[in-house]
Amino acid sequence: MWLSILGLILGISLGLLTDIQIPPEYANYLSIAVLASLDTLFGGIRAHLQQVYDDKVFVSGFFFNIALAAGLAFLGVHLGVDLYLAAIFAFGVRLFQNIAVIRRIILAKWAEKKEVRETI
């Protein structure tokens, strides 16, 4: 777990230190990509906690979701419809659901541990 957080910190610091910028027109796409990746990440954590984690699903979902969201936003820009809102909505809802499930699982585990400790 700590290793993954280290990865996150490494990524953030690398991004901040190198001061990479993308053209502002593409900021929309990147924000959606970030959202999609967060969604996939929490989905993966949830699956892991529920013991249904699948490597292929996780990795393919990560890249596919990002590509789909960016593609949808791109299509939206060219059709004049704010399609990226659809992606934001879908990912946002799923994000909350996943986090809620994760929270419940962790709470359940915690309660279990406590019970075990009390019985001892």
Partner: protein
């Protein structure tokens, strides 16, 4: 197995962190520094102020008209309407106009005469540039060789003839009359034309521009054609 999951997560987290940081960088771009110097900013300010005062004077004149309408509403609405119509006709160039202005004579240059060169017509491009120059310096009403310039006037080449309002301009010499708002504006225009680079352009075409001193009451002919308003429509609402 567990280790592999952890590696995957780490890589994904790394990518997310990178994307977030890039997004952060992009959104928090430092504002572009204003590198204009004080002079340029002053110029901009002057321009805006000019616009402001123009708008104010326009508001003032419209208020005047409004006041006149209101005052004349009881007495004679016809009178006010007629006055406005007259003013509009004047602005559109449909009536003869008198005012302070200058007269510009376009003549063949002395060299061309001495050399016995054939005097050619003035080119439409040159004429257009001259009119633009005049308009830039507060020329209000202009007539070229007796042809009044109005909003829809076209200066162009028709079958090798330079025309204004589709009427041929004579080969030089001919005169251009310009009326300005005030004597002061006329003087400004006079000085500007004397120093303008357009004189050189005329000289290249073997022509000279002679600018007369500002006169207080110059008369400019009315536009003699009919103004085609085929595509104009009355605006709706107020």
């Amino acid at each position: 197995m567990k280790k592999r999951i952890l590696t995957r997560f780490t890589v994904i987290m790394f990518i997310i962190g990178l994307m977030t940081a890039i997004q952060y960088n992009t959104i928090n771009e430092p504002n572009v520094r204003d590198t204009q110097d004080a002079g340029k900013i002053r110029q901009e300010l002057a321009r805006e102020k000019q616009l402001h005062s123009d708008l104010l004077s326009e508001i003032g004149s419209l208020d005047d008209t409004l006041g006149k309408y209101e005052a004349a509403a009881d007495a004679s609405p016809e009178q006010a309407l007629r006055e406005t119509a007259g003013k509009l006709r004047n602005a559109a160039g449909l009536s003869e106009t008198t005012g302070p202005g200058i007269e510009v004579f376009v003549e063949p240059s002395l060299e061309a005469v001495a050399m016995g060169l054939e005097i050619e017509r003035i080119s439409p491009d040159l004429l257009i540039r001259l009119v633009n120059e005049i308009n830039r310096y507060n020329g209000l009403y202009v007539s070229i060789d007796g042809k009044r310039i109005i909003n829809t006037t076209a200066i162009r080449d028709i079958n090798g003839q330079t025309t204004v309002n589709t009427k041929t301009v004579e080969t030089p010499p001919f005169s251009i009359k310009i009326i300005s708002e005030s004597m002061e504006d006329s003087e400004k225009l006079y000085n500007h034309l004397l120093a303008s680079r357009i004189l050189d352009d005329f000289y290249i075409d073997n022509l000279t521009l002679t600018v007369s001193e500002p006169k207080s009451d110059l008369v400019i002919e009315a536009y003699d054609g009919a103004i085609d308003t085929k595509y104009l429509q009355a605006s709706e609402g107020e």
